[in-house]
Symmetry: C2
Subunit: 405 residues, 2 copies
């Protein structure tokens, strides 16, 4: 710690301190309770603590769709994700940096994570060339040509200034052949070394924020690749946390669960595990049961856009259904969100059917709160030893109701 | 008053009292100050008081687009408008009634006004037949056929249950020929008598809310028609207030101002005058100077959808402009709305350019607050005798800045 006083580490690591490098000690994960493989812990960041399991709302373009950040905070979200690919293209990472960084830009003073942009490059940009140096791609907005390399992605995420940033990885489609999966593992590992080198240099700069770099684990659905890629990644560095990539990309559910079980045996207990792109409520709970701590997904807001909501009592419902026309009950009687406190199903249905802007907002608040609350309840139950029975019952009820729709 | 105690009139006129008819005394307008033709007053309604001049946000389909009603209240709006045509078609006035009325349905406990649907029938529905009994029209949603008569429109607005309801009128296009304008005046007057008769019957029903019926003044841009239609309307009944229709429908601005000056000379001082469908900030202020008290318009939210905002310092601006890219100032440094308090132009521009949902919401809050505040300031200045000089300067500055864009 080179003589930095401890209280600086605890309290003085907001953006732009001169001791950014030393603040790396900030990104500690404290494992507090376990039940089976399920874990409850706390991730410390320069912008606050994140109790886990934690669902992170996605603020793709520097805004969680239709919501103000006060609402995101009010619904209990502790950490938010933003997309490097989108912000790099628009408004540009340099502009965000110039305007004081992403926290300031999007008015979020809590913990913030940016992804590497890799997943979007592989899924959104139509034309691309993947080579050892990086990826050439065309913007989905205007067709302009860009290149992401590991170094460039570190520079961009440095400029954005999130607390946790992700390494640039190659993410082949779910169910790709083994040769492709293996090549992607090797490339991801080579890129990771370059990310780390650039990250280390950037963290020595005097005027930037303290950040933690998480690697992304690949290997598709091939168990030995998953194991070897995780072991090789662990062997490279004592990372502050691990992103689990290449899941929820088209593979079978049982492949996802088996992969998580393998990784649970390999990953260190005292580091957070971030399952990228998951998920739906039942998937989130299945993953918590298999040792995952952090999650993100656009499903809550995307479903809201289609009038779909999750409920404790009826599983997933679509508000367009005629049966809600005269229904003056709360959307979810078990929910404590502002939507369920103030509005009834009949009015929500009207907003959805009339394609009103407010529908998107009210359903997004509820769906996000549903996942955040699921993480909170899982955490409580892991703490008091009631997770195992509860999570099985919860999954059964949620799936049974869904199949009844 | 048939022996009803006065305190019932003042405090007991929320929806569904048995003495609805007697509560008509509630809709008193107290004229408090004047300067020239400009007026400051207070309209009393069963759901609260409305200090005038007052801009009323439009909640077309039972929601002010993109906003929660708490936000509408927080930005200082005291009375809100909803559209009979839209709510009749979707979700249906009977359903709204069954669910407890429009106040409850849309979560707005303050003063509420519904229009007659006439304007929408004439502007939105593609095919129609206007006859002495009413108007046959096709829904703009599904093409289904409907008929509005004066009686039907009273029934619908009774079911919705707003505090102030509007008579069914015929509104010909701005600049129509004199014969058309005169025929519309006659028909509007005949329909008004039928509205009043039905309204009187409905108000004797024991289980409904106390409501006030405002007639709508027509006459297009023909001064003698305007004068005679107003006089004949006044002669029919001692109305609680007057809607000024057939303006802001394509006629020249000087025709609108001259018409308002004529009506200012005819209308009683102790009744509120509601200028329907106005407006833009400068039009609102011009109309206040000519004796109008209440206003509504979709421009604040429609402009927001296009990235346009009104400012005290730069007139009307479009946030898409490149000059806002690095602008960390508040949208309007003179504004006290939550958008101007929390966000800067650079971020608002990003939201607009990226077509983010939040842009619509933040700009709507600002634009609505801009008009509500303009009414508030006009009221203060009428009260302290500084309206005349101020309003001329305000108009000059606002228009100069707009022409500089």
């Amino acid at each position: 710690m080179k003589g930095e006083p401890e209280h600086n580490v605890a309290g003085g690591c907001r953006a732009r301190t001169p001791s950014a490098l030393h603040c790396a000690a900030m990104f500690q994960y404290r494992l507090e309770d376990t039940q089976g493989s399920a874990r409850a812990g706390t991730l410390h960041t320069p912008h606050g603590e994140v109790p886990t399991p934690a669902f992170m709302p996605v603020g793709t373009q520097g805004t969680v769709k239709a919501l103000a950040m006060e609402e995101v905070e009010a619904l209990g979200a502790r950490m938010v994700l933003a997309n490097t690919y989108h912000l790099y293209l628009r408004p540009g990472h340099e502009l965000v940096h110039e305007l004081g960084g992403l926290h300031r830009f999007m008015r979020w003073d809590g913990p913030l994570l940016t992804d590497s942009g890799g997943f979007q490059v592989f899924s959104l940009s139509a034309i691309r060339d993947v080579h050892d140096d990086g990826v050439d791609f065309k913007s989905h907005i205007d067709g302009s040509t860009h290149t992401f390399t590991p170094e460039r992605v570190m520079d961009i995420q440095r400029a954005l200034g999130a607390d946790v940033i992700m390494a640039f990885d190659e993410c082949p489609p779910g169910g790709c052949d083994r040769v492709t999966a293996e090549a992607a593992c090797d490339r991801t590992l080579a890129w990771l070394a370059r990310c780390r080198d650039r990250f280390d240099v950037l963290q020595t700069e005097a005027d930037g924020p303290a950040q933690a770099l998480f690697p992304v684990l690949q290997g598709n659905v091939y168990d030995d690749l998953r194991r070897s890629h995780a072991e090789r990644t662990l062997g490279m560095h004592d990372w502050k946390g691990y992103g689990i990539g290449g899941l929820s990309v088209g593979e079978a559910k049982h492949d996802m669960w088996r992969t998580l079980e393998i990784l649970d045996g390999v990953l260190p207990a005292d580091r957070p595990r971030y399952l990228m792109g998951v998920g739906y409520p039942d998937d989130l709970l299945e993953a918590v049961a298999r040792g995952c701590d952090m999650f993100d997904c656009v499903a809550p807001t995307r479903n809201a856009r289609h009038g779909t909501a999750w409920t404790s009592t009826e599983g997933q419902v679509n508000l367009k259904a005629a049966r809600f026309k005269r229904d003056t009950a709360a959307l979810d009687p078990m929910c404590d969100c502002t939507t369920c406190s103030r509005y009834d199903r009949a009015y929500l249905r009207h907003l959805v059917v009339a394609s009103e802007w407010l529908a998107m907002r009210l359903l997004s608040i509820h769906n996000l709160r549903f996942l955040v609350r699921l993480g909170e309840e899982a955490r409580t139950r892991i703490g008091n030893g009631t997770f195992e029975g509860w999570h099985v019952e919860w999954l059964e009820r949620f799936r049974k109701e869904r199949s009844n729709q």
